[in-house]
Symmetry: C2
Subunit: 537 residues, 2 copies
């Protein structure tokens, strides 16, 4: 698995630190990039359930993007231009946001900056509102790449506002964001001598998929105003809400913003138009100083003039957007969401139910034996070894281990392959059951060799802190869950060795296998049978 590269004599300290920076999301993507699943050419490749991309609407996009109006070249498009983006595009973005954000007044082209992606915009905004080592508040969990967006070039840190994964007390819902929590974290940062310049709010949220009400958002903006904090509002998924039970409200729809000079709204084509490869991010802010400063960095984040033309054509084609793309996209997203959440429910996996974004935030805590990020990472690696790339909570700085983000916006045949996940979890579930048996069996062997547990794991309370385990057994579990730390084959052999020992000293396992697996997925039975078969040899 992935190794952090050693120090290079050719690079500066900064260069080495940049090269060695390896987030989990990135580590997974690098592996995925080397062995991508492809229906025809690489059916055993890695299935990407981790990267937030909408792969459901390629046909619609292909049809629109290959229309003749997309193939346009004029001299201005081939020449240097305004680093904020061509005026024709900024005008189109302003009109688009006015309409789809339901702005009470027409938004202005002069308040728009277009760059090659929202990461570039975040980097620039951070560079001009913060000095190096300053920090920005962000509720956790959050889309993990923001950490690098702010840090790599601009040397700006995030200060976390941890949200609790349990409801209760004042928290009406899981991961509940409140003004009190923002206040508390700001206070804590000040106590630690950290200068906080801004707060980042993501709505619809990544990875929670939660859609905040306008009232909630205004409350957060008022908090920011009280402390003269800038607010970066990430509305990247604003059009990706696919059920009428929920309505998204952009902060730009407010009659008036609490602090318009410090409110900066980021949107782009990557998610809502399923065009991450187009590299288009847009900023809307009334603060002309910020626009001017960000524009100075624009030469590093420019977009081809011809691409700018294509984006303008797309955004102005309201007929296509309203009558073809959006309804069909929502319909397909809804179906895919329904499929994946159905699978999760059938596995008894809790998740946050929001009909928005491209992913579901799910609680896999029962598949890790203790509440630690090491165990979470082991589970993530185990998925990857089973050719499934997921995103685990620590990649989003979640404060509690065991949460995973499942991207559902994949094509049907990919979703079927999503059964890989089910299989992995069932395998894990079966193995967990087996371990529990073996552990109990070992204990029982000491007390009474005939008293053996055979209840299903779901009927047993989760042992959070767990009893003191037999070291050999505990290490075996670690072997199977931590694919990086040891050679998996060796681990399996060692497990089989133990099984063999158990089988030779007792015939319980063989006799009770059918009962042990009654009502379980046949695949678990297969796992047991295969293990027994090898162990009996």
């Amino acid at each position: 698995m992935f190794q952090t590269p050693g120090r290079s004599m050719y690079l500066s300290n900064r260069g080495n630190s940049i090269r060695q920076q390896q987030g989990i999301l990135q580590e997974g993507f690098v592996q995925y990039a080397r062995d991508q699943y492809d229906d025809a050419h690489n059916p055993d490749g890695i299935l990407n359930v981790g990267t937030s991309e909408n792969k459901l609407c390629y046909d619609l996009l292909h049809k629109r993007l290959t229309k003749p109006d997309m193939l346009h070249v004029d001299p201005a498009l081939l020449q240097y231009s305004d680093w904020r983006g061509h005026l024709f595009l900024r005008e189109e973005v302003a009109k688009f946001l006015t309409h789809y954000c339901c702005s009470p007044k027409p938004l202005k082209a002069d308040n728009v900056v277009v760059m090659n992606g929202c990461g570039s915009l975040l980097s620039c905004i951070a560079a001009v509102i913060c000095d190096p080592k300053d920090a920005i508040l962000i509720p956790t969990p959050f889309y993990g790449a923001i950490t690098e967006d702010l840090q790599l070039y601009s040397d700006v840190r995030l200060f976390h506002v941890p949200l609790d994964c349990e409801a209760g007390g004042k928290d009406s819902r899981l991961f509940n964001l409140t003004v009190e929590k923002l206040e508390e974290s700001l206070k804590k940062a000040k106590q630690e001598g950290i200068i906080i310049r801004a707060v980042i709010l993501i709505n619809p949220h990544n990875p929670l998929a939660e859609v905040y009400t306008l009232k909630e958002m205004i409350g957060f903006l008022e908090f920011a105003k009280r402390y003269e904090l800038h607010v970066i509002v990430d509305e990247l998924y604003m059009l990706t809400v696919f059920d009428e039970s929920v309505t998204f409200h952009s902060v730009l729809s407010a009659d008036s913003l609490p602090d318009p000079q410090r409110t900066h709204v980021v949107w782009g084509l990557s998610k809502d138009f399923a065009m991450a490869g187009f590299r288009i991010g847009t900023l809307y802010t009334e603060n002309s100083h910020l626009v001017e400063a960000v524009a100075q960095l624009g030469s590093f984040h420019g977009v081809s003039g011809t691409t700018q033309h294509q984006v303008a054509q797309l955004l102005r084609d309201r007929e296509w957007i309203n009558e073809e793309f959006l309804p069909e996209n929502r319909c397909r997203l809804k179906a895919a969401h329904s499929y994946v959440t159905g699978e999760l429910r059938s596995m008894g996996i809790p998740y946050l139910h929001w009909p928005a974004t491209l992913f579901v935030w799910a609680d896999l805590r029962k598949y890790i034996r203790e509440s630690s990020f090491e165990r979470e990472l082991s589970l993530w690696r185990c998925f990857l070894r089973h050719k499934v790339l997921l995103s685990c909570g620590q990649a989003f700085s979640c404060s509690t281990p065991g949460w995973f983000r499942f991207v559902f916006a994949n094509q049907d045949h990919h979703l079927k392959l999503g059964q890989c996940v089910t299989r992995t979890l069932h395998t894990l579930s079966g193995l967990t059951q087996l371990f529990r048996y073996l552990r109990e069996s070992d204990k029982a062997a000491i007390v009474n060799s005939t008293s053996l547990p055979h209840s299903k794991s779901s009927e047993q309370p989760e042992e959070k802190d767990g009893p003191v385990l037999d070291t050999a057994l505990a290490s075996r579990e670690l072997v199977l869950l931590d694919c990086q730390a040891s050679n998996a084959a060796e681990g399996l052999d060692s497990l089989i060795g133990t099984l063999r020992h158990q089988i030779r000293s007792s015939d319980w396992l063989e006799k009770n296998t059918p009962e042990l697996c009654a009502g379980e997925n046949p695949e678990i039975l297969d796992v047991f049978k295969a293990l027994l078969q090898r162990a009996s040899k």
Copy 2:
């Protein structure tokens, strides 16, 4: 004219400093952007002779870029991809460079990084080979935007290696770059406690247009190797050499590089393919550590997948490149170069004669009354007031004031408008002559009111340090040459006032005007006549 913006309360110290950064090139471009010359819509707009763009081949590009193969979309192009650039494009760039750089062995796709422009590449390379405040050696003059490319994000400084504008001594030619000068500057930097990490070499040179021989380049690379300095070789104009008298040799054509792990070659589409608006820069380096580190910053500098496809199509179309674009482009460049250098010669303006790049480096020292950068800037502003945007030497950190870069790669009708330049210079020439007369006349008035000079300025030796001038007259000259410092109309009125006084006290000027202007451009006569007419009222 342009005012540096005041401090903003919304921005950090860094943000304010970024916003306030205003190079001369940028100042000019901002004004040009507001009032661009357009044959049909704005014939009185600013003519851009300053920005290095090739505007001669739009018809060829339009024809190629609107062919059906350019309108291609596939899923991978719309999705996140390798931040070094799609493999298909890196392969094409490697093949392209292998061929056009005459590499003795096939160059490898793994050594290629594609980003949105060479400025982005320079920013990334600086970030990973330097720590903040480290410096990079660069001979002056040099393409001025490099200063911001290295500083804005990466906080890396340039340490200048000043080249002398006079030949003589060991210098066989003007602005002669030698290993000794590099050595000397490196030594000086070390004495000042500055850490030098690299040297930037530009070939063909911007703004000198000089083409270095491979032997010279290898000499510079060997110097860098001796001190373990990285070398960033900017070969942006490698295909823009339009006369067989000169052949460009890429460092990639060398049988072996002195220090391949520290040699990084930058090229792009902006100049050689006249497509600055496409935002395509390429890096070739054998140093995999550098590639990995730079790739980490790649998400900030990504290019749309569809644009990458178009670039690959263009680069692989050798028939179009070799049989249509390159020969026709060279032919047009040669004609345009010949026209502009002819104009310069006819005005007696010395320039460096190199049949390469898109510009000519010309010596306008005789049009500034004293060797100072303030005077150079005044002349630059005077051009701009005459609706001509040029680039002056200080924008390129030239060590001697009075040099200007003339971009000639403009369409024919633009070149005709290039006569604006001639007119400006002739006007200046005429006025200089007039000032000289007035000054001498003032002096003469004291000594002998009938002895008046009437020799042509070209026959008089240039007064570099000049005699002590009459204060009133000196300030008048400043008025006319420094359009920013005062109201030009007022200055003219004041000059006319003085003229009126001269005319009333003597009829010499009126009588001698035809003789004074004999053999001069009729436009100078017009200037004189107009002034006399207003002064006589």
